[in-house]
Symmetry: C2
Subunit: 203 residues, 2 copies
């Protein structure tokens, strides 16, 4: 069995989609969580001075999206055909469209929370709802994919973080397909178990 | 032969890496370029109200990065193995690390040009130089990949745009491996031909 280490802060953030995939596939891994002080000491040992970093035996993968795709491919959450893969990428990029405003939020919090709430996230939810409506209520086919993992991570944890709420407490009642999607994903036994046991961090 | 249409503004921007791949593989395609006025009229017909959009026969792919991966996979610029793919993703994300500051630049140009020039781009160039130094002067193996296309696009056109210069005129003399990379890619006959013939747009 390969030795797997995930290095990140003591936070959900950009590592959580990887943890969801490991939970779904029953992967045994070392979940290394640095405090800000600890990270300052190890920063220079990271490939680009950043986390998350994934280590599988002697392979090191930096950069969250590179890690997502690699883990998804290794553990059966990435379609093998080019068109299926493009479909998953479209879902990921629909969520990444919020990165700019979300990142600004960290620096100019008050002013931007309103913009995220009124403009950025509604547009994202509307686009994801459109994707679900065009795919019989799924993001892509019948099989779980990276698209599901990333979407749940944003809707359950991301929306809550940016609006100062508890994970999973943001209403999706205006988006019935998304609401159903989140409920179904959350009820997957391996995800339910993981959510129950994961450390309670604000990000 | 499939019918291929690339829809974007009359600009290099997020469509140019796709055009580079089409040039390299000799793809015959319709290069649809909207003025701002024309785009306002067709915006509602785009999947998410945005361009670029790629249409291949009856397949529609929105979102630049989904298009990059799809085109790279279809035309032989994406490694088939998971680790090779992760390596290409790392290069792409090293460049995407500049997206936040680059996007802000469009809104707060003067203040940010200095930050991009002094902080954001040097960090990216340093990280790309590191990747090249660890791979015998290549970004990934001996075969051209999406990593090469995205990197050339940023170093040749992106850096120039954000610093108000002509494409290809930004000095890379502090980064000898990057300088050599750009010179080699630019000298590829199909790229040289494409660069000579492409419309002269500021972005």
């Amino acid at each position: 069995m390969p030795s797997v280490r995930l290095k990140y802060f003591d936070a959900k953030g950009r590592a959580e989609p990887v943890r969801f995939m490991f939970a779904l596939d029953g992967v045994d891994y070392e979940d290394i969580r640095y405090s800000q002080e600890e990270f300052a000491k190890v920063k220079a040992t990271m490939p680009f001075g950043q986390v998350p970093v994934l280590e599988v035996d002697d392979i090191t993968v930096p950069h969250s999206k590179a890690i997502y795709t690699f883990v998804a491919a290794q553990h059966g959450f990435l379609p093998a055909d080019n068109l299926g893969r493009a479909h998953v990428d479209v879902v990921i990029e629909t969520i990444s469209d919020t990165d700019f405003d979300s990142t600004k939020w960290f620096f100019e919090q008050e002013e931007l929370m309103k913009h995220l709430k009124d403009v950025t996230f509604p547009k994202m939810k509307e686009n994801l709802e459109k994707i679900l409506s065009e795919n019989n209520g799924g993001l892509f086919g019948d099989k779980l994919s990276l698209a599901d993992v990333i979407t749940f991570s944003m809707l359950h944890d991301g929306l809550a973080m940016f609006t100062g709420k508890e994970p999973g407490s943001c209403s999706l009642s205006d988006y019935p397909l998304l609401e159903g999607f989140v409920a179904r994903f959350k009820a997957l036994p391996k995800i339910a178990t993981y959510l129950e046991k994961r450390p309670n961090t604000p990000y």
